[in-house]
């Protein structure tokens, strides 16, 4: 029979689709932004594509955590259950709202506030998840299996990569605005190239983290 655990695994996998799978379009599009043979009009269209597709990984990454905790609890590997899981979902919902609002209100003071709150949520999460993983390795609590604790640690790593992307990519918007206003000059092209090139290692590290996490989830090795 179809049990709820199967459904959650499916949701978990679909979230990976919209995170890792969608990211390849974002990555490829970003290189089209700095191609000098692409006209400003083409690049403006590509920028719109990039903005749209990039929303998918943003949403999927936030939902991954509560879904992952549901699965862990279903397997009896996590003490977060019942009412505590409901709280996790509530917090994730609030985080998602804040994150989506930060994106939709970008450029306004309110958007800036949302973005700062989102940043702090991520910093706190990175710390909490890292500590939870390390404590689990040594004491078997809160996460009973080392492979799961490693996934939690890698999730923290992936969040760090996300912050790396955020800070290196922050320069892209202004640089692109200048490029559209002033046209293609050696200066505007160079300014555009900097964030696109610098973001590359962060993106590749993030993908590596996700790919390893998916292997751990499938293999569930005893470490």
């Amino acid at each position: 029979m179809l049990d709820s655990q199967t459904l959650w695994i499916m949701v978990h996998v679909v979230l990976l689709v919209y995170w890792l799978g969608a990211d390849i379009s974002v990555f490829y599009s970003s290189f089209q932004l700095i191609k000098t043979e692409n006209s400003p009009e083409t690049r403006a269209a590509v920028a719109k594509v990039l903005g749209f597709v990039n929303a998918f990984p943003g949403i999927a990454s936030i939902l991954m955590l509560p879904v992952g905790l549901m699965l862990a609890n279903g397997k009896g590997l996590s003490p977060i259950s019942g009412g505590w899981l409901a709280i996790v979902w509530l917090l994730a919902g609030v985080w998602l709202l804040i994150s989506v609002s930060a994106a939709s209100q970008r450029g306004t003071p309110l958007g800036k506030t949302y973005s700062n709150i989102d940043l702090w949520i991520r910093i706190v999460l990175i710390a909490v998840l890292t500590i939870a993983a390390i404590v689990s390795f040594s004491s078997g609590e809160p996460f009973a299996s080392n492979w799961l604790a490693l996934k939690v640690l890698l999730f923290a790593f992936v969040l760090v990569c996300g912050l790396g992307i955020r800070f290196t990519f922050a320069g892209l918007g202004p640089a692109f605005g200048r490029f559209m206003a002033e046209g293609s000059t050696p200066e505007t092209e160079a300014a555009l190239r900097v964030p696109v090139i610098r973001v590359k290692p962060w993106v590749l590290a993030l993908w590596a983290g996700l790919v390893v996490m998916s292997l751990l989830g499938i293999a569930q090795p005893s470490l």
Binding site: L2, T6, I9, M10, V13, V14, L16, V17, Y18, W19, L20, G21, A22, D23, I24, S25, V26, Y28, S29, Q32, N38, S39, E41, T42, A45, V46, K48, V49, F52, V53, F56, V211, S214, L215, I218, A219, Q220, P221
Partner: protein, 223 residues
């Protein structure tokens, strides 16, 4: 799971991720390519970008054949000898080379016979997989589990949708070539839009089928 089993399931999962996830970028970019507000040069470039991103789903679909059969074999769901798996992998590799060559080669005249061959190959594969699935439902050969046979049938359906896209997009390609050569007219744009819309329905068909196949693979229902 055992190491090899995990590894092949993992590759199978990542192919699914890049198939469905990569398609988001293709789908969204195509709207810009179809938009008469952009000049022809921009649309041509966007068309190339769409084609590039589309190589993610195209590549994964080809590799789904050998990985799918390998996953089935490693779980003991196949009655055929493992020599067949080697054949599937060689076939996948050769087909992949063809698919990439068709993408990278710019000489349309040189490509034409091979594009036709690729289309015929898809027909043959679709019919073969439907026959194998039906044989498995009735005789449990070559696939012993009905849910796996159903997945093969669904995969044949995705090949069918891919053929549908090629047929539906024919007026599109002709209209786009006319727009490039002689400029945009409302009639040409109308043909283009109608053709793109028909193709999009086949694309949505693929999404539903691929997601369904993933769901059945996760669920593994016995029937």
């Amino acid at each position: 799971m055992e190491f090899w089993e995990s590894l092949i399931v993992w590759v199978h999962l990542l192919l699914f991720v890049y198939w469905l996830g990569g398609d988001i970028g293709v789908f969204y970019t195509s709207f810009f390519r179809n938009n008469p507000k952009y000049d022809v040069e921009t649309r041509t470039l966007l068309s190339r970008i769409t084609g590039d991103i589309d190589m993610a789903p195209r590549t994964t679909m080809v590799l789904m054949v050998p990985t799918g059969f390998s996953v089935a074999a490693i779980h003991g769901y196949l009655t055929i000898s493992s020599m067949w798996l080697i054949a599937f992998w060689i076939f996948g590799a050769v087909w992949l080379v063809l698919v990439w060559w068709l993408h990278l080669e710019k000489d349309a005249a040189k490509k034409a016979p091979w594009a036709k061959f690729d289309l015929r190959l898809r027909w043959v594969l679709m019919i073969t997989f439907v026959a194998l699935a039906i044989s498995s439902f009735i005789n449990n050969e070559p696939i012993t589990q009905n849910f796996v046979a159903l997945k093969l049938l669904i995969f044949a359906g995705t090949i069918g949708c891919g053929i549908g896209i090629r047929v539906a997009a024919k007026p599109y390609i002709a209209a786009f070539a006319q727009i490039k050569a002689e400029g945009s007219t409302p009639e040409r744009e109308a043909i283009l839009q109608a053709s793109a819309k028909a193709a999009r329905n086949w694309v949505k068909g693929i999404w539903v089928l691929v997601a369904l196949a993933a769901f059945i693979g996760t669920w593994k229902p016995g029937f």
